[in-house]
Each structure stands twice: as structure tokens, then as C-alpha cells.
Symmetry: C4
Subunit: 263 residues, 4 copies
């Protein structure tokens, strides 16, 4: 796989992932969206088909990691060269940021309607640092279009939930060659992986909103901090390390288990 | 591919697409339908399986474009001959109109019950031309069975949303040969593409109702204008160019990116 | 295909279809069911996966018609011998009746709780013959577990809706060999067909509840008439011919179109 | 298949099944979960994709039984050696218990918030033995995250429902080789089986919550009894034999029918 394949595949694929993933959060939560209030099942299917789209487009180009936890996990497992890892990570973060900007463009009017609504303005999340770490809502509705936040703010549990969720994702990805005649991420693998992600969302998304991917959270959070949105509130940087560190630990644990028990 | 294959495949496939796609809008919105109020997730899955049905039926006959943005995109990419393009476009528009008429026939009683309901009659959208371009509802419930309309009427944003949505669709279609050993739109490709469309609907449908297909909007709008429905209101022609132009731009951009970066 | 294969496959497959299809109607509508009120999307996915289960089990045995409209359509098309048709039809009807009895057994307590509830007893549908053909509800909640009924009782429209819905089903089944290298109903074909049925339900189920299969309606209706359920109300025989005749016409039309245009 | 393959595959796969299956129950029912109130369709898709994840991961290792009813059914059918059965059963039970503990860890904060909520504490289910067998709710919300319970407590009917549901599951698994060129549980088989499980849940889950798997119910129930949860209520041991015995009977009946009629 050439460097240009990695760059093009991962940037495009991750941009699609975040465009559709952030998009469904915008669709379901922002005012003046036809999908407002469409519910949790819509959000989880939306993210799943976001994975499907990104994985299907990038699968034949870069292998469609779209996620540093996947890249690190596959490097530990041996399927990805460590020397390719930095390019994967940079491309994934860049793609995630592009995707978040595209969500903003696609929902320009809804963001404006939402953020200038008097009810919403009053309910903006507290500024970073002022947040009561125990009981404050993790993120207001607009930050929630970009990044994840926990329902209950508790470092150990939040980390644990992200570790467990990413472990499930990675073990599913790592074992897929075992019953597939050694094929990589073909179209059927992309489809099944995307439904596994729907499952992770439905089952393990309740506490933290399931980042299970460092750039899925960090990329859009950076964009949230940079975009000129009125009344957007803080970007909740105090929480931001958990959806980065948790998924990396979960992915590494899955790769370790795979190498010991399954390989 | 013979001219007759193109005509039969595209007309039949697009008619099925619009019959099932318009049908789910009728099912969810019209009075006296068992599915009334079934919600946004029903609408997006309904449109997705409409794509699946049309693509599955026409896939082996005409390649199942069903959409001028797909036809133009594939012509730019090189997979479709420019000389075949006019026949594709005509067949797609004809199929879309046939599909819209079939929706009317299948929901004959519901249309009548809905349009003669006193509450609904009073809530018909204003006639074309009198619509306040900023705050009026984009389309009343009956026009919504046929065509799309924006929640917030803003030319630049509406166009942008349709461009982005169609770009996602086309990049997914164009790259599918890359991880599928060069196969065209086989049954698994049709299935995955249809789930990508569910994803686009869930994630990018909020602002404009995701036409992402010129004939999906124009064909049924023409039928709406022609059908002898009482109290049907205007056909909102002032908006009608956006779901035609936006998707064509989005498809062309995707084909351009594909040719530069992926081919 | 031997006679015993046809009998075993069609009886088992159709019994599974009706067990799971009638089951989801019971689950969503009967009192004291955990799924009560789960909504239209649950019903349509429930019927779709009922088709998947029946088709997957019977596919390798009898070809999994499970539906006289499919059998007649395939006989017209030429894929099924006319001499096998009677055995297919008898097995399908027998299977449908077995399935309906199994629904009753699985929901024994819920049927009893529902039918002895004072509110429900008062709301039973009028006896056959006394029904006002224009405005009466098509079927009470218990008959609805067994058979379909229209929201608006209008012979021409109801027939039309069933014809159109079954036409879509059959054209999808008949063309599936065209893009599948001539394969019959393999597992992927069963999956796609089942999602097409979800689509038909979402999009065309609003007016009549989409029988699109003569035995799906007739078999359970006979069982409803025979079962010793208290307060069960009439079996609405005056409507019963429409979900038999409509699907047969729709299937025949699709086979005719297929033979003329696609074969 | 080596003993170590059976142990690793079944323990991991069943742990994933219960982690995601119990997880979706926690997500939808516990306080302070983002998915609270997401509904029955979310629960059934959650369990389906739990099956998909477990089956996909373990399919190439141990054949992915994940369920004593499957193991016994395949042993009767002849596909699994009786001498391997004990190891399968032990691994499945161990995996189910691990999965239940992981649900607790992932939802630690939600369990605490839920169990210390004054409203919930007052609504705990009665202690075992004190339960009115006719009208008491089968299980309180916290036991429901771990184990199943009937809406109407009636031994014969509850048993019947579990027998019928498991029969459907097993007949689908046993016949899958017939139309799949003799392949075992490949990725497509895992996908279809998981959607059959969604169908069983939607259609037959209403009365008892569809265990259809002895360890799915027994493993988490043991964990519920052992975990130091405040106000957790009884573990409803009086019901616990039904979701063990029912599925085993249903699986054996399906294997018997398969051997007589399909093999």
C-alpha cells in the first residue's frame, strides 16, 4: 500500500465517517431539522451506516482503518507496519476535521436557528472549568453534534466504558479473517463491521455516547473550538482525553488477546 | 448494453424506486394510513429499501443508475458512454413519473381522506409565489409525498446540502469496484448502496429531505402538478431547480475526485 | 425437486413465515406483551425477518415460494412446473394454518388477557355483514393478529393496493437471477428479498396492511374462525377474497411483464 | 477442532453476546443512560447484533454455538461430537457470566444512579417466594438487565413460548448448510442468523422476553445473585428453570424434525 493510498483512503473515509456520524447527531438534535427527535435507534443506525460508507469507500484503497485504535491494534497484531502508523493517524485526524466542517456546512441554517433560539441559549453547557464534575450535563446539544460526553462524569467508569466498547470493535475486526478465508475488509466484512458498530452503540453507548475512536472525538472537538458559532459554549476539554486514551487501551487489549489466544 | 435494456431497466427500476420511496412518505404522513406517524427512521429505511428494490431489479439489465446524478457521474468517470446518457435520463424521468402515479393509485383513498379533511385543507401551503422565502414551511403534507422541500428556505445552504449528500452517494458507487474485484453493481453492492442511502437520509436529510437525485424530485413534482387532486396546493416550482442542480453538481464533483485521486 | 421436498419445505417455511409474521402482530398489539406499542417499523421488520427465516429454511429444500402468488408467478415465467403447482398451494395453505396456531400457543396468555379486558371487549369489530363498508374499522385488534384488513374499505382501491404490492415482490423475485449469475434463491437472495418485503410493508402497507400473499391472509383467517377464543368477533369474510385475488393478479402481471420485457 | 479452540471461541463469543445483549437492556432501562426509553425495536436489534458480534468472532474458532440449545441440537443432528458437549456447555456458561460482569462494569454509574433512586427502590420486585404467581411483574428493572422474566407467570405457556422460539432458531441454524453449498457458519450465515434472532425477538419476545438460550438467562442470573448491588431485589430463582429447560426442549425438537424430514 503506497503512502498516497493511505492518505487518500484514510482522509476520505474518515471524513465520510464523521460527516455522516456527526450529521445524524445534527439531524436528530438541532432545531428546524426534519429528523429532530428521531431517537437513539436513528443515531446508532446513522453511525453504523457512516462506518459502512467510510469503510466501503476506503476499503479497497487503504484498508479503511478510519480510527487510530484500529491502526494501533492492527500494528500490534502485525497486519499494519509500524512505519505506516504515523501517516494513518495524521490522515485520520485530518479526515475527521474535514468531516466535522462538512456537517457544519450541511446544517448551516439549523446551527444558526438552534444557537439563536432563546431557550437553547439559556441552556448552554457551563464553560470548561466551571463544570461540576459530578452532576453537570456532559455537553450541550451543539457540542454533542461534534464530540461525545458522559451522562455521569466519572473518570474511571467513563474510561472503562470506552475501553470495553473499543475492545469489542477491535476483536471483531481482528478475527474477521479467521472465518472469511483470510480475506481482508471486503464489502461483506464492511457491512458486518458496521452492524457490529450499531450493536456497540445500542448496547454500550448509554454511559458515554461511544466514541470508540480517538479522532471521532478529537477531530470534531477541535473544529468545534475553531468554528465561529455564536453561543456555542465551551468545548469541554477536561473530558477530551478520555475518548482518546480509552479507545487506544481497548484496542491494544484486544490485539493482545488476539495474539495470545486467537492467532 | 442495448438501448432496449437501458430503457426497460431504468424505467422499471426508477418507477419502483419512486413507488416505494413516495409510498413511504404517503404511508407515514397521510390520514387513514396504518403507518401514519411511523417516523423518520421508517422514512429513511423505506427510501433505502426502495433503492434496493429498484437496484436489484434493474442491476442485471441496465446497471441500475435510477438517477441522473449517477448517470452523469459514471459518464465523467468513464463507465457509461456519453452517447447512452440521453436515453438514461429520459428513461429515469419517465420511470419517476410512473412511480409517482402508482403511489397515487395505491393511496387513492388516503389522498382523498387527507385532502378533504377540514384541518388539512386549512393548513395547505401557500400558493407558489406567495411563499415567504424565509419562514414558510417548505411543502405541505401532500406535496411532501411527491417532492422534497427545505425546512429553512435558503438557496446557498439548500444547494450545499444536496451537493454534499449526492457527493457521498456517488463516491460510494464509484469506489465499489475497488474492493469488489471490479464487479459492477451485484446484489451485495445493491444492498450496501441501499444502506448508504439510509445513512445519507439519516445524517444529511434533516435540512432538505435529501433528493440527491434530480428525477426523484422533478418527476413526482410534475405528476403533482398534473394530478386532479382537490386542495393540493402549489407545486413549489420556485424550489424545484435546487434538487436538480445540487445533485448534478455533487455527482460531478465526486466523479472528478474519483478520477483524480482514486482511479 | 421431489414431492416430499416441496411438501416439507413449503409447509415448514410458510409455517415459520406466519408464526413470526402473526407473532409480531400479536407482540405489538396484545395486552400484557412486552412489545405492546412497539410500532409500525417493528411490524414491518418483523414480517421481513419472518420472510427471511422461512426463505432461509426452505430455500435449499423447495425453493421457498411460501406464497401462491410466487408459485403462480414462477409457473407463468416457466421456472416452476404447472404440475407441481397444486402441491405447492396445498402445502403453503397448510403451513400458514400451522403457523397461525403456533402464534396462538405462543401468546396464549396474552390472547386471554386481551380478550377478557373490558375495554377491548367493548371495542370488538362488528359482525360480518353488519360492517358499514365505508367507515368501520377494518378489523379489531385480535383479527388483526391473524388477517389483514383495510383502513378504508373500498374494493377497487384495496384490490389495487394489493396488486401493486405483490407486483413489486414478484418482479424483484423474478429478476434476481439476472444479476446473480443465474443462481436461485441463495442466502443472499433470501436476505435481499426479505428487505424488499420490509420496503413493501413500509411503503405500501398503509392502506390494507399488505397481505401480498393469499395464504398469509386466508390460512390465519380460517384458524381465527375455528379457534375457541372468547369475544373474538367476526372473521370479516366479506373482505377475505381481496387479499387472495389481488396478490394473484399482481403476481401474474409481474410474470407477464418479466416474460415480455426482461427474459 | 481442538479443546482450546472450543474454550476460547465459546467463552469469548458468549461473553460478547451477553455483554452486548445485557448491555442493550441496561442502555434502554437504566436511569442516566443516553438510550433510556429507546424501545423494543432497539432491544431486539441490540440482541441481534450481539449475536452477530459473538458469532462473527467465534465462527472461525469454535463454530460459534454460544448457546447450549445449539450445542445439544447440533449433537443430536450429528454435526457436533457428544464428547465435546461438556466443554461447550462449560465455556458458554463461563462466557455468559463474564459478559454479565462486563455489563455491570460498563454501566457502573447507571446501576448506582438507578438503584439509589427513591422511585426505583420502592418498585423493586418482591422477594422470591413472596411473588404472586399470577399478577406480579416478572422482574424489576435491574434483574431485567440480567435475566428474562414473563409478563404473565404461567408455567405451561412460558415453557411453550421458549420452546417455540428456540425451535425457530435451531431449524434456521440446522438448515443453513442446505442452501449454502454445505458451508458452516460463514460471515453471511452469521449475519442472517443474527437477523433471524431479531425476528424471533420481535415476534416471539412479547410473553417471556425470549431467552431461547439457557446460559443467556442462567449465567447473568448467577451474576445478579452474586454482585454487591444495593436494593437489587431477588433473583427470581423460581422462574429460572424455564429459560433453561424450554430452550433445550425446543432445540432437541428442531434437531429431531431436521433429522427426520430435512437431512
Amino acid at each position: 500500500m503506497s503512502s498516497s493510498d493511505i492518505f487518500i483512503g484514510e482522509t476520505t473515509g474518515t471524513a465520510l465517517l464523521i460527516l455522516l456520524g456527526g450529521g445524524v447527531c445534527a439531524a436528530v438534535t438541532l432545531k428546524r431539522s426534519k429528523a429532530q427527535g428521531a431517537g437513539w435507534l436513528s443515531i446508532t443506525f446513522g453511525w453504523g451506516f457512516a462506518v459502512l460508507t467510510g469503510a466501503y469507500v476506503a476499503g479497497g484503497v487503504s484498508g479503511a482503518h478510519l480510527n487510530p485504535a484500529v491502526t494501533i491494534g492492527l500494528a500490534i497484531e502485525g497486519g499494519t507496519k509500524w512505519s505506516d502508523v504515523p501517516l494513518y493517524l495524521v490522515s485520520e485526524l485530518l479526515g475527521a476535521m474535514i468531516g466535522a466542517v462538512l456537517v457544519w456546512l450541511a446544517y448551516l441554517g439549523q446551527f444558526q436557528a438552534h444557537l439563536t433560539d432563546p431557550e437553547i441559549v439559556g441552556a448552554q453547557p457551563a464553560e470548561e472549568g466551571l463544570v461540576d464534575q459530578k452532576s453537570a450535563p456532559a455537553a450541550g446539544p451543539v457540542l454533542g453534534v461534534f464530540s461525545t460526553g458522559p451522562e455521569i462524569r466519572h473518570v474511571v467508569q467513563n474510561l472503562l466504558t470506552e475501553i470495553i466498547g473499543t475492545f469489542v470493535l477491535l476483536i471483531a475486526i481482528l478475527t474477521q479473517g479467521l472465518n472469511n478465508n483470510g480475506d481482508g475488509l471486503g464489502p461483506l466484512g464492511a457491512l458486518i463491521t458496521s452492524l457490529v458498530v450499531v450493536g456497540i452503540g445500542l448496547s454500550l453507548g448509554g454511559p458515554t455516547g461511544y466514541a470508540i475512536n480517538p479522532v471521532r472525538d478529537l477531530g470534531p472537538r477541535i473544529v468545534h473550538a475553531l468554528l465561529p458559532l455564536p453561543n456555542k459554549g465551551g468545548s469541554d476539554w477536561s473530558y477530551s482525553w478520555i475518548p482518546v486514551v480509552g479507545p487506544l487501551i481497548g484496542g491494544a487489549l484486544a490485539a493482545g488477546l488476539y495474539n495470545v489466544a486467537f492467532a
